[in-house]
Structure formats: structure tokens, C-alpha cells
């Protein structure tokens, strides 16, 4: 039971990194970024490949974050002028591109077979073999990301980020270079997604392209909306609740083939209820426009 709890908390922590960073781009900057899962993938693959080449954990996960950030920065140039749904479609396209690359660049990613034997993190010679140690590592990254993101959204820069969500042209007229702001937001958001991908890979010790399909983004997106747009606290609570919600099914004795689909049904029903009865989400101040 204790092992199960630890495993579970690790998953929540990794998931929170992903949802919090997506909240920055959707809830604060108003960028419906459906390419988020691609940054998670880039982080996962780069950190794994670097570690498999013998690089130490901290460097490889940091480089993974920076690489994700770099790709987000590149993606922001062609998508800067796109708004709303168009931006969403373009970024979703990026997810497909990354998925296809991970599937077909066999010499690098081993294609559909995936990367196996990704080592457990070792920090200054101390190998985190036990899950409880890994949990502390994840919590460290979670706290770091939560604090940095709240620092960003409360800063004067964060104010400009939110003004872009409300009315980008009005922000431009006040002299704000909104393209630069959006580029920074996407890069920061991708950095944490990359870290999350790296942590996931080092925890599960195996990744394949199917871990990073656009479908994997749907629950993340649900959590961001249910938590409430523009609320980091809401996102954290929603992640906890939503990852927890399908678990009792396991104890009632349902098999894991049922739990997967059941989880999707629960999320869908919950999302519909939230959109009808509480369109602002748990802690959000405004609804999805």
C-alpha cells in the first residue's frame, strides 16, 4: 500500500508539472497550445537519449528542458500571428510532427520499440533507486515550477501576459511587443513540460511514441479547464483530484482494461458537468471564451 501511494504521488507530481505549465500558456496568455505534449515528448526523449549516452541526470534533464524550450521558441515564430483556434490547430500539427518523427527516426528513437533501460537518476553519485527518493526529486521540481510560475504571473511581466489573453491589440497599442511576450511564455511553458517528460522517462525507465500522442493531452487539458483558467492553485488541486478519481475502481476489483476507458468516461462527464454548472472551473475567474 505504501509503495502504491508513493507511486501515485510521483505520478501526480509529474502530471502537475505538465498541467501547471500548460495553465501558463492557456489560462494566462490565452494561447490554446495543443503542442504541449510534443514538448513533453522532446523532454522525455532528449533526457533519455542523453542519459543512455552516459550523461549525468541533472545535466541531461536540464538540457531536455532547454531543448523543449528552444523548439517552443522556434514554433512561436510561424504561429505568432495566429489566434485562438488557428493557433490550436497549428500547435496540434506540431504534436503530430513530433510524434511521427519519434515513430520513424528509428536510428535515434528506436521507433515503435521505444527506448528501454533508461537509467534511474543519479545525483552526485547517489542513485535514486528507491521510489521514495524519486518522489522527493519530483516534489522538488514541482515546488520549483510552482514558485517560478507564480512569480512570473504576479510580476509586471505576468500582467502583460494576461493583458494579451484579454485583448492583444490593446496591449500592442500600449507599446507591448506581444510577440516577444508570447515567445517567452511558450518557451517557459515548454521548459517545464520538458522537465516533466524527462522525469517520466527516468521513472518508468521506458518510453515509446505512444506515450506522447495528442490523445494523452486531453486529460491534461481537462484538468487545466476544470481547475479554472488563470489559477495555479486550482490546477494543482484539479490534478490531484482527477488523477485520484478513477483509482477507487481498482480497489472495487475492476481490471486495468476497464480502468483506462473508465478514466476517460469520468473525465468527459466531469468536464461536461463543469462546463454546464461551473464554467469558470474550480478557482478560475473567467470562462473559456
Amino acid at each position: 500500500m505504501e509503495g502504491y501511494l508513493i507511486h501515485f504521488t510521483i505520478l501526480i507530481a509529474i502530471y502537475s508539472l505538465l498541467t501547471l505549465s500548460l495553465q501558463l500558456s492557456i489560462g494566462f496568455a490565452g494561447l490554446l497550445n495543443l503542442g504541449h505534449i510534443a514538448f513533453y515528448a522532446i523532454g522525455g526523449y532528449s533526457s533519455s537519449l542523453l542519459s543512455l549516452q552516459g550523461m549525468d541526470f541533472l545535466s541531461s534533464i536540464l538540457i531536455a528542458g532547454i531543448l523543449s524550450s528552444f523548439f517552443a521558441c522556434c514554433l512561436s515564430f510561424p504561429t505568432n500571428k495566429l489566434k485562438g483556434d488557428y493557433f490550436a490547430v497549428a500547435t496540434m500539427g506540431f504534436s503530430f510532427v513530433v510524434y511521427e518523427i519519434s515513430l520513424n527516426w528509428v536510428s535515434l528513437t528506436k521507433g515503435p520499440m521505444g527506448l528501454v533501460g533508461i537509467p534511474r537518476p543519479d545525483i552526485l553519485g547517489f542513485v535514486l533507486n528507491q521510489n521514495i527518493h524519486f518522489l522527493f526529486l519530483c516534489l522538488f521540481f514541482l515546488i520549483f515550477s510552482y514558485l517560478s510560475l507564480s512569480l512570473i504571473v504576479r510580476s509586471p511581466f505576468g500582467r502583460v501576459v494576461q493583458s494579451i489573453r484579454d485583448d492583444e491589440l490593446a496591449a500592442k497599442i500600449l507599446g507591448k511587443n506581444t510577440n516577444k511576450v508570447k515567445r517567452i511564455v511558450l518557451s517557459v511553458s515548454a521548459f517545464f513540460a520538458g522537465i516533466a517528460g524527462g522525469l517520466y522517462a527516468h521513472y518508468i525507465n521506458y518510453i515509446d511514441p505512444d506515450s506522447f500522442t495528442v490523445m494523452e493531452l486531453i486529460p491534461v487539458l481537462c484538468i487545466v479547464i476544470i481547475g479554472g483558467l488563470g489559477s495555479l492553485k486550482g490546477t494543482l488541486i484539479a490534478t490531484f483530484v482527477l488523477v485520484l478519481l478513477p483509482e477507487p475502481l481498482r480497489f472495487i476489483g475492476f481490471s486495468s482494461d476497464v480502468i483506462g476507458p473508465a478514466r476517460q468516461i469520468i473525465y468527459a462527464v466531469l468536464l461536461i458537468c463543469i462546463l454546464i454548472y461551473r464554467p469558470k472551473g474550480l478557482y478560475g475567474r473567467f470562462d473559456l471564451k
Binding site: 510580476s155 509586471p156 500582467r159 500592442k172 473567467f286
Partner: protein, 253 residues
């Protein structure tokens, strides 16, 4: 001369919104840009503020060519603008709306993170001064979405004047607000003029316009048909025919 428009042309599809339009704006004056709907007033504002690119012609601001530059560059050069419709940042407080306008260091990511988000005394003083002039100090903590339309316009005007500028473009500031607020606007604009602000104004409320304007430019079908002192414009027969209506002449003379 602070702004010069030279032979501007802009068409949308087959419609010539601006058709060989030229005029100049003098410093320290309130200049009104009048004309019937569709005469190209807002298009000219959009061209000056960089939202729309021109087909032909030039915009000179303080003798520098600013034609077809980005809205943010033009704003940073010193042209502040109010839109025809309310465009506040609805999910931010009134104070945040104003701080975005006045604060110029918020674009520096790291500096912005590590200098605490305090309101610098000087900025707060400037904000309070304008809020006091318009008598809306009590709105500061409210969310912009919770304000009435008139209040939103007041906050927007404040935001437009707080944005560092040497020229202000106002697109129908008094449309849709009650007479009390309209009077507040008129007083406020005159006060700003006394503080050496230059204002270019589009407005359909003639009483409001003629009570504050130093000079009036009338547009029709994308070009200037009259340019002069308010009294001259009132008497101009062509202007009466296409825009003011003949009654205006008989009632105001």
C-alpha cells in the same frame, strides 16, 4: 507640426476608404476629425497607429517617417490611442490596466521577476492625479469587467493618457456615455490641453466637439473637404450639405 499625413490612400476591396488624404496636426491643440460614417476617419486612425498598412502615402510623426510600422513601435514613439469600442483588459483590475499602460519595464522578463512588483511612487502619483481629475479613484480595485460602460470609457481614457505620449488619438470618446460623463470628458480634455497635450479627436457629438476643438478637419469619401477654425467650419456650406445638415447652421448661428 507634430503629425503630417501626406497623400494617404487605402482601399478595402473596391472601396476607397482613404483617398489621397493630406493634413497636418499642430502641437498643443485639440484637432477634431469630422465626417459622415464611412468617410475614412477610423481608417486614418488605424493607419497612424500602425494597425492597417497604407497602399500609398506617408505618415510623418515629429518629422520621422512612421508609415507601416508596428503598432507597438508607434506607441513607443509617443502616439497613444483610444479605440471606438471599449477595449479594457477585462479580467484585470482597473489598477493593473493602468499600470500596464504606464510601466515600461515590464517587457524585461528577468528584471521584472526579481524587482518586486511594487508600484513606484512616481507612477502611483501620476495615476492618482488623473483618477482624481476624472473623479474615479474608487474604481481602482475593481475588475474592469464589473464596470458600467461609462466607467469603462473613463478608465480607458485614463489608460490612454497614462501611456507615455506626445500625441493622443481619441476615437469617439463620448459616444454612448451619459451627459454627465461627457461633460467630465470635455473638462478633462481641456485640462490636458492646458498641460501641453496634443489631441486628435473623432466625435459625432457636435456640441461636445465644437466646445473643445481648436481646429476642425472634415472628411468626405476619404479626403479632406474642409480644414479650419470651428466657426468657419460651421458656416461652410458644403460641410453642412454632406455632414452637419442645414438645421445645424440655423440653430447654431
Amino acid at each position: 507640426m507634430i503629425l503630417e499625413i501626406k497623400n494617404l490612400k487605402k482601399s478595402f476591396g473596391g472601396v476607397n476608404a482613404v483617398n489621397n488624404c493630406s493634413f497636418q496636426i499642430e502641437e498643443g491643440q485639440i484637432t477634431a476629425l469630422l465626417g459622415p460614417n464611412g468617410s475614412g476617419k477610423t481608417s486614418i486612425f488605424n493607419i497612424i497607429s500602425g494597425i492597417v498598412n497604407v497602399d500609398y502615402g506617408k505618415v510623418l510623426f515629429n518629422s520621422a517617417d512612421i508609415t507601416n510600422r508596428n503598432p507597438e513601435d508607434i506607441s513607443n514613439l509617443g502616439i497613444s490611442r483610444l479605440f471606438q469600442k471599449a477595449r479594457l483588459f477585462e479580467n484585470l483590475s482597473v489598477e493593473d490596466n493602468l499600470l500596464i499602460s504606464i510601466h515600461s519595464e515590464d517587457m524585461q522578463f528577468f528584471k521584472s521577476l526579481f524587482t518586486p512588483n511594487k508600484v513606484f511612487l512616481e507612477e502611483e502619483k501620476k495615476i492618482n492625479k488623473i483618477l482624481r481629475l476624472l473623479q474615479i479613484e474608487d474604481l481602482k480595485e475593481k475588475f474592469a469587467a464589473d464596470l458600467s460602460y461609462g466607467q469603462q470609457r473613463l478608465v480607458e481614457i485614463t489608460r490612454t493618457f497614462l501611456n507615455p505620449h506626445s500625441l493622443v488619438l481619441l476615437d469617439e470618446p463620448a459616444a454612448g456615455v451619459n451627459p454627465k460623463i461627457r461633460n467630465k470628458f470635455a473638462k478633462f480634455l481641456l485640462e490636458m490641453k492646458n498641460q501641453k497635450d496634443t489631441i486628435l479627436l473623432i466625435e459625432h457629438d457636435m456640441k461636445f466637439t465644437f466646445s473643445i476643438a481648436d481646429r476642425v478637419i472634415v472628411l468626405h469619401e476619404g479626403r479632406v473637404i474642409a480644414d479650419g477654425l470651428p466657426e468657419e467650419i460651421k458656416k461652410n456650406q458644403f460641410v453642412q450639405k454632406v455632414y452637419l445638415g442645414e438645421k445645424f447652421f440655423s440653430s447654431s448661428s
